[in-house]
Amino acid sequence: MGNKQTIFTAQQLDAYQDCTYFTRKEILRLFYRYRDLAPQLVPLDYTNQPDVKLPYELIGSMPELKDNPFRQRIAEVFSEDGEGNMTLDDFLDMFSVLSEMAPRDLKAYYAFKIYDFNNDDFICKSDLEKTLNKLTRNELTEDEVKMVCEKVMDEADLDNDGRLSLEDFQHMINRAPDFLSTFHIRI
C-alpha cells in the first residue's frame, strides 16, 4: 500500500489523523473541498507547509455553511486570526470538531465559544440576545427577547453571577440529549 498522493508527507498525514477525528481518506477529501473553494490560491503540494489562508467570504460560501446563521461565528472561532480567514489546519479542525465522532465536552467547549460573541469567556446577556436574534431571525419582539434571556440566565446560571461560564454551559449541555446530533455538520 504505497502513498499514491503527493499532497502531504506521510508524517503530516499521520499527524492529521492523530489530531483530528478523520481518517486519511477523509482528510484528503477535505483537502480537495478546501482547494475547490479557491483552486488558484491553494497549492497541490503541502509538504513544505505553505502559509495559505482563505478569506472568510469563501469559507462562508460553502453549501454546508451558506445559510447557517452562525457561520460567521464558527469561522471566527476556528480561525487562527479570529477574523474568519482559515488555513487548512483551521478548516480540518473545524470539521473535525463538528463531526460525529467528537466527544460531547469538546463540542460543548466550541459551542460555548461560538455563542460567546464578545469573546470574554462568558455568555452574557448581550451574547444571549444576539444568539436569539440569529436563531429566530428577529421574529421575537424586544420584550420577548429580554424575557427569554432572563429565563435562560435563571435556569442555567448556577453561580448567579449574571452570565454563563463554561461550566454552567457544559452542565446544561449534559442534560440535553439531542445536543450531539444537532451540533453536527456532515461533510
Binding site: Q11, A15, D81, G82, L98, D121, G162, T182
Partner: protein, 818 residues
C-alpha cells in the same frame, strides 16, 4: 357433578384472587418502570440512572473545589499581601511602571465587572493563583488564546478582551508581552508532560479531545511522543486489536449514518416535519399520537391475522347461503353478509383443523392439528398482554422525558442552545427551522408569563359562581346524554331488525360525542382559569368524563341484555350482536368525524369571516381530537374479542384520518398562540390511553372471558362454560402429549394455586419502589443544598476580592506618599 361445581367455585375464588394480584403486580411493575423512567430524566442515555445524581454531584463538587481552592489561596495572599505591603514598596513601583496604560483597563474593568474595581496589583495576585489551578479547560483556554498574543498587530481583537476577575484571568497584554511566550511554552510543556504518562492510544485520544487548535495539538504531539513512537503509533496495533478498531469505527459510522435513513423510513416523516414547522409542537403531538395508535393497531392486526384469521380463512365453515349478497347499508350495519364473514365471532368454528387434505395446493406431509378455540383464546389474551407491556414501556419512557428531577422548565435554555440543527443546509428547511424555534420559544414564554393577578373578593366570588355553573352545566349534559343513550338502546331492542334503527343508536352516540365538547368549549370560554394549562386540563377531564360515561352506559346495557336474553334464547349469538354494535359505533364515529372536519370547520371559517368579520381562522383543538382517537381505540380494544378484524377497520380509519386532518388543517386552521407543553401532554395522552382506555377495555374483556357463558349456538366456544375453560382443556390435553409443556403447565398450576407466590413478589416490588423513591428524594435534596453552597461560595469570593481591593487602596496612597 358436585366435584366440578366445587372445582368451578374454587376456580372462581382463586380466579378473583389471581385477578387482583395480577392487577397489583402490573400496576407495581409499571410504578417501578415509572421510577426508572423518572430517574433517567435528563441524563445521558448511556449513563445508568443512579449515576445521574452522582454526575451532578461531581460537577457541583468540582466547581466547589475550584472555588474553595481559589478562596483559600486568596485568604493566604491577603495575609501575605498585607504583610508585604509595608516592606516592599519598591516592588510595587516597578509593576506600577506602566500604570498609565492601566487606567483604560481599570475603567473597562469598572464597567464590566459589576462595580468592583481592581487595581493591577489585585489582578496580579488573583491571576498568579489561577495559573496554578489545574482545570484543563482553563489551561486549554489560555493556550488557545495565547497564540493571539504573538501577533500584537491584531490588537483590534485583543483590545476588546476585558480581563475578568471571577473566571480565568488573562494577564493584561502590555504587562506580560515578555512573559507571553514563556507562558505559552510552560503551558504546552505541562500538557505534553500530562500526556506522556499515558499509553500511546490513550494519549492520542486525550489529545484529540483537547480543545486546542490543530497547530498546537500537532506541536504537543511532536513533543510528547518521540519520533519513533509517533511512526509506530497507529501502525503497530496488535493484530487482534486492529480489526476491532476498524469494526468499532465502522459501526459508529454506520449507526450515525443509518439514523437519518431510518427516520426517513418512518411513516409520514416529512409531512410531520412540515406540520411541526408551521403549526408548532402541539399539533405535531396529535399526529405523533395518531401514528403511535396506528402502529399499535397494526401489531394487533398482524397477531390476530396470523394466528386466527388466516387459519380460519383457509378452512371456511359452512355458511348460510341466504346471506351471500352484500348491500351497502349492510356494510354499515355489519349485519347480513358480514355477520357470516371472518369479521365476526360466529364465523369461527369450534373444531380442530387437521391439515390432511391432499387436494389443497399446499402439500403437507404430516398432520398439523390447529385448534381454533384454543387459538382464539390464546391470541386474545396474549395480544392484550403484549399491548399492556408496550403501553407501560412507552408510558415510562415519556414520563422520563417530561419529568424533571431538578429545576423544572429547563427546556428554555436547551431550546436556545441545542435546538438549531447545524446539519440542515437547504433554504426552505432552514426557514422551517427558524419558524419552529420561534414558535417554540414563544410558546414557552407565554406559558411562563402567566401571572397571578390579585383579585378582589367580589371578583373571586363571581369567578367561583361561574365555575360552579359551568361544571353543573357540563355534568348535567353528560348525564342527560348517558340517560338518552340508555333509553334509546332499550327502545331499539324491540324493533331490531330494521337497518336504519340499528344505525340510529350509533349515530346518536356519535352525535353526542360531537356536540357536547362544543358545549364544554362554550362553558370554558366564559370561565376564567388561572393558567392556560389548567384550562386544557379541565377540558380534557370533561371530555374524558363524557366518553367514559357513554361507553359505560353502553357496556352496562349490553351486559344487562346478555344476562336477560341468555335464558330466552332470542339472541342466538350475543357475541355477534356486541361485535356488530361496536363495528357500527366505530364506523359512525368515523363518518361523523369526516362530516365535522369538512363541513364543520369549513362552515365555521366562512361564518367567522362573513358574519363575525374576523380574519381569524379556528384553532385546532388538540385535546378534543386526541380524546376522539382514544375513544376509537377503546372501542377497538373492546371489540377485538368479538370481531377479530376490527383492528383492520381502525387502521383504515386512522390512515384516512391523518390525511383528512392534515388537509383541513392547511385549509381551515391556523397555528395556536396558546402554549402547549408537548412532552407533558404526550405523557398525559399515553397515560389516558393506558388508564381508562386500555385498562377498562382489558378488564371488560377479561371479565367476559372468565365469567360470561359463550352463546351455545355459534362461535368457537359453544358448549363451554367460559372462554377460559377452553384454555384449561387445552392444558389438560397438552399434559398428556408433550413432556416439556406438561412440566410448564404443572409449574403454572402450582404457582397460581399458591397465592403466597404472588404476594411475595408484590411485597418485594413495593419495597424496591419505596427505596428508589427515597433515593431520588435524597439526591434531590443534596443537589439543592450543593447549589446553595455554590452561591454562597461566590458571595464569599466577591467579599474577599472587595476586601483585597480595599486593602490595596488603603495601602497604595501610603506607598506613593513615601
Amino acid at each position: 357433578m358436585s366435584k366440578t361445581e366445587r372445582s368451578n367455585s374454587s376456580v372462581y375464588i382463586t380466579g378473583t384472587n389471581r385477578a387482583i394480584l395480577s392487577v397489583f403486580l402490573v400496576s407495581f411493575s409499571s410504578g417501578l418502570a415509572l421510577q426508572e423512567g423518572t430517574a433517567t430524566a435528563n441524563c445521558d442515555h448511556h449513563r445508568p440512572w443512579h449515576t445521574m445524581g452522582a454526575s451532578v454531584l461531581t460537577f457541583v463538587k468540582r466547581s466547589l473545589t475550584m472555588k474553595t481552592l481559589q478562596k483559600a489561596d486568596q485568604v493566604r495572599t491577603l495575609s501575605d499581601f498585607s504583610k508585604n505591603q509595608h516592606s516592599m514598596p519598591r516592588d510595587s513601583e516597578s509593576t506600577n511602571s506602566s500604570e498609565g496604560s492601566k487606567e483604560p483597563f481599570n475603567r473597562k474593568l469598572k464597567s464590566s465587572s459589576q462595580g468592583t474595581k481592581c487595581s493591577a496589583a489585585t489582578r496580579r495576585v488573583l491571576s498568579s493563583h489561577s495559573t496554578g489551578s489545574h482545570s484543563s479547560a482553563g489551561m486549554s483556554m489560555r493556550v488557545r488564546r495565547t497564540p493571539a498574543l504573538q501577533q500584537p498587530q491584531t490588537s483590534s481583537r485583543d483590545s476588546v478582551h476585558t480581563p475578568n476577575i471571577d473566571g480565568i484571568i488573562l494577564p493584561e497584554l502590555k504587562e506580560i508581552s515578555t512573559e507571553g511566550l514563556a507562558c505559552i511554552e510552560r503551558n504546552k510543556e505541562e500538557l505534553a508532560s500530562d500526556l506522556r504518562g499515558l499509553s500511546v492510544s490513550e494519549g492520542m485520544r486525550k489529545l484529540r479531545a483537547m480543545p486546542l487548535s490543530l497547530v498546537d495539538k500537532m506541536e504537543i504531539r511532536r513533543r510528547c511522543f518521540s519520533p519513533s513512537a509517533v511512526n509506530s503509533l497507529n501502525r503497530n496495533f496488535p493484530c487482534f486489536n486492529l480489526p476491532l478498531v476498524y469494526i468499532s469505527r465502522m459501526w459508529r459510522h454506520f449507526t450515525f449514518n443509518a439514523l437519518p435513513f431510518l427516520s426517513t423510513l418512518k411513516l409520514w416523516h416529512s409531512s410531520m416535519k412540515k406540520l411541526s414547522g408551521r403549526y408548532g409542537t402541539g399539533v405535531l403531538s396529535y399526529f405523533l399520537f395518531l401514528r403511535t395508535l396506528l402502529f399499535i393497531n397494526l401489531l394487533l392486526f398482524i397477531i390476530t391475522c396470523l394466528f386466527l384469521v388466516i387459519p380460519q380463512a383457509i378452512h371456511p365453515p359452512p355458511t348460510d347461503p341466504r346471506l351471500n349478497s352484500v348491500t351497502a347499508i349492510e356494510l354499515l350495519t355489519g349485519t347480513g353478509y358480514l355477520s357470516q364473514s371472518l369479521m365476526f365471532y360466529s364465523y369461527y368454528s369450534n373444531v380442530t383443523i387437521e391439515t390432511n387434505q391432499m387436494s389443497s395446493h399446499i402439500a403437507v406431509t404430516h398432520m398439523v392439528p390447529y385448534c381454533i378455540p384454543t387459538a382464539y383464546f390464546l391470541t386474545i389474551t396474549i395480544s392484550f398482554f403484549i399491548m399492556c407491556i408496550i403501553l407501560v414501556y412507552s408510558m415510562s419512557k415519556s414520563f422520563g422525558k417530561s419529568f424533571q428531577v431538578l429545576k423544572s422548565n429547563r427546556n428554555l435554555s436547551e431550546n436556545v442552545f441545542c435546538s438549531w440543527d447545524f446539519k440542515v443546509s437547504k433554504k426552505p428547511s432552514i426557514r422551517l427551522q427558524h419558524e419552529k424555534i420561534s414558535t417554540q420559544l414563544k410558546e414557552q414564554l407565554s406559558e411562563l408569563t402567566s401571572r397571578e393577578e390579585e383579585m378582589s373578593l367580589m371578583q373571586r366570588l363571581r369567578n367561583l359562581i361561574v365555575h360552579v355553573l359551568a361544571w353543573v352545566t357540563c355534568l348535567a349534559s353528560i348525564l342527560l346524554s348517558a340517560v338518552g343513550v340508555y333509553f334509546i338502546s332499550k327502545h331499539t331492542v324491540s324493533s331490531e331488525f330494521k337497518n336504519l334503527d340499528l344505525l340510529f343508536k350509533s349515530a346518536v352516540v356519535s352525535g353526542f360525542n360531537l356536540l357536547l365538547p362544543g358545549i364544554f368549549n362554550l362553558c370554558s370560554w366564559f370561565e376564567k382559569h388561572s393558567s392556560p394549562s389548567t384550562r386544557v386540563y379541565v377540558s380534557i377531564f370533561r371530555n374524558l368524563l363524557l366518553k367514559i360515561s357513554l361507553i359505560g352506559v353502553l357496556c352496562y346495557h349490553w351486559l344487562e341484555k346478555i344476562a336477560v336474553k341468555q335464558d330466552r334464547q332470542v339472541l342466538e349469538c350475543w357475541e355477534n350482536f356486541v361485535g356488530q354494535e361496536l363495528y357500527r359505533l366505530l364506523l359512525m364515529d368515523f363518518i361523523f368525524t369526516v362530516l365535522y372536519t369538512f363541513l364543520g370547520e369549513f362552515i365555521w371559517r366562512l361564518f367567522s369571516k362573513k358574519v363575525l368579520k374576523k380574519n381569524r381562522k379556528p384553532v385546532f383543538d388538540i385535546a378534543r381530537n386526541v380524546l376522539e382517537l382514544i375513544y376509537g381505540q377503546t372501542l377497538t380494544w373492546l371489540g377485538v374479542r368479538f370481531s377479530p378484524l376490527l383492528p383492520a377497520v381502525q387502521i383504515a380509519k386512522l390512515f384516512v384520518l391523518f390525511y383528512m386532518k392534515k388537509c383541513s388543517l392547511k385549509l381551515n386552521c391556523q397555528a395556536s398562540k396558546k402554549p402547549w407543553r408537548a412532552t407533558q401532554m404526550t405523557t398525559l395522552f399515553i397515560t389516558l390511553l393506558w388508564f381508562p382506555s386500555f385498562l377498562g377495555a382489558a378488564v371488560s374483556v377479561m371479565y367476559t372471558v372468565w365469567m360470561i357463558t359463550p352463546s351455545s349456538g355459534c362461535g368457537p366456544f359453544r358448549n363451554l362454560t367460559s372462554m377460559f375453560e377452553s384454555g384449561k382443556l387445552w392444558a389438560e390435553r397438552m399434559k398428556d402429549s408433550h413432556k416439556i409443556l406438561s412440566w410448564l403447565i404443572q409449574a403454572y398450576n402450582t404457582v397460581i394455586d399458591n397465592p403466597l407466590f404472588l404476594f411475595l413478589p408484590t411485597c418485594v416490588f413495593l419495597l424496591v419502589v419505596y427505596f428508589h423513591a427515597q433515593i431520588v428524594d435524597g439526591q434531590r435534596k443534596i443537589i439543592r443544598r450543593l447549589e446553595k453552597q455554590i452561591e454562597n461560595e461566590v458571595k464569599d469570593k466577591r467579599f474577599l476580592i472587595t476586601q483585597l481591593q480595599h486593602w490595596n487602596e488603603e495601602n497604595e496612597p501610603g506607598s506613593t506618599q513615601r
